[in-house]
């Protein structure tokens, strides 16, 4: 694949079916390779992490957003710029904890799950867990340790998809974390 030379802020259109089927076949293959769903979830998270630590460079280069001063600003950038740029959706931010270190991203429709129906024998699978990994990896590269997990999932019968993000601490030293 040739390297793109003109990386602007404009987003290129991509066929959503192709994207859906690509991610779907990846998850389905992982389900075949690993015996239980927890391992698949962990693996998806790890892949997402590896995407996130790279994607953040692309994001910062293209979006021209400056440094965030608090976690609320970070949340705004994630929802309004990052999700918009890479997935074409804008989740809403709600359920702030009183301390302001924890919030929820509500996805009205998750673009990853258009055709998916979870089979009965994979009830513990968190299909879109890669998103958690991406968020964790990306924020880790900007000195923020966060905990990301799914609180609700439309695949499991909930009406919306909810991603819960919790700020843990600032990473003080700038040493890169070890490869996972």
């Amino acid at each position: 694949m040739s390297r793109q030379t003109n990386r602007g802020t404009e987003s290129k259109k991509m066929n959503s079916e192709l994207f859906n089927l690509t991610y779907g076949s990846l998850v389905a293959q992982l389900c075949k390779d690993y015996e239980n769903d927890e391992d698949v979830n962990k693996q998806l998270e790890k892949m997402g992490y590896n995407i996130g630590v790279r994607l953040i460079e692309d994001f910062l280069a293209r979006s021209n957003v400056g440094r965030c001063h608090d976690f609320r600003e970070t949340a705004d950038v994630i929802a309004k710029v990052a999700f918009k740029m890479y997935l074409g959706i804008t989740p809403t931010i709600t359920n702030w904890s009183p301390a302001g270190d924890e919030f929820s991203l509500i996805l009205e429709n998750n673009p990853l799950v258009d055709f998916v129906e979870l089979p009965d024998n994979h009830s513990n699978l968190i299909y879109s867990n890669m998103l958690c990994g991406v968020l964790r990896g990306a924020l880790e590269m900007v000195q923020m340790a966060v905990d990301v997990k799914f609180a609700q999932d439309t695949l499991k019968g909930d009406s919306v998809t909810e991603i819960r993000m919790k700020f843990i601490r600032r990473i003080e030293d700038n040493l890169p974390a070890g490869e996972e």
């Binding site: 779907g24 129906e117 979870l118």
Partner: protein
């Protein structure tokens, strides 16, 4: 509307068959099974001339005393067969056509589910709902 809906694979084994529970299921299985010969006949009769036109709807396969059997075949040779109560005369060809199109769309979604292996029997809630809506609309 429909009393029985069936999806049959390219190799002529059933992927999905459901009929209204009040009637004898076996009877419908038999009806659908017999219709497959007519489907094959229609496909070969169409020959090459019609392949280009992409007409997937096969029309009325055959009428029985109580029921009418309609057929539809996708480009990948998956067959849909629908048995309709013949007392329902209000049902126009166009409506049958649109029901098949709905069924086809729903089938496409099932195929796109990454957890569905092509060739397996269809076990999908979304597809079930589509079929149910077509059967309830009638009764």
């Amino acid at each position: 509307m429909a009393v029985c809906v069936a999806v049959i694979a390219k190799e002529n084994y059933p992927l999905y068959i459901r009929s209204i529970p009040t009637e004898n299921q076996l009877k419908f299985h038999y009806t659908v099974h017999t219709s497959l010969d007519v489907v094959d006949e229609k496909i070969s009769a169409m020959g090459k001339a019609l392949v280009d036109q992409r007409e997937l709807y096969l029309g009325l396969l055959y009428p029985t005393e109580d029921y009418k059997v309609y057929g539809y075949v996708t480009n990948s040779k998956v067959k849909f067969v629908m048995v309709v109560d013949s007392s329902n005369t209000a049902l126009r060809d166009n409506e049958i056509r649109s029901m098949f199109r709905k069924l086809h769309n729903s089938y496409t979604d099932v195929m796109c589910n990454p957890f569905y292996n092509p060739g397996d029997p269809i076990q999908s809630r979304a597809f079930d709902n589509t079929v149910t809506s077509m059967m309830v609309a009638a009764c």
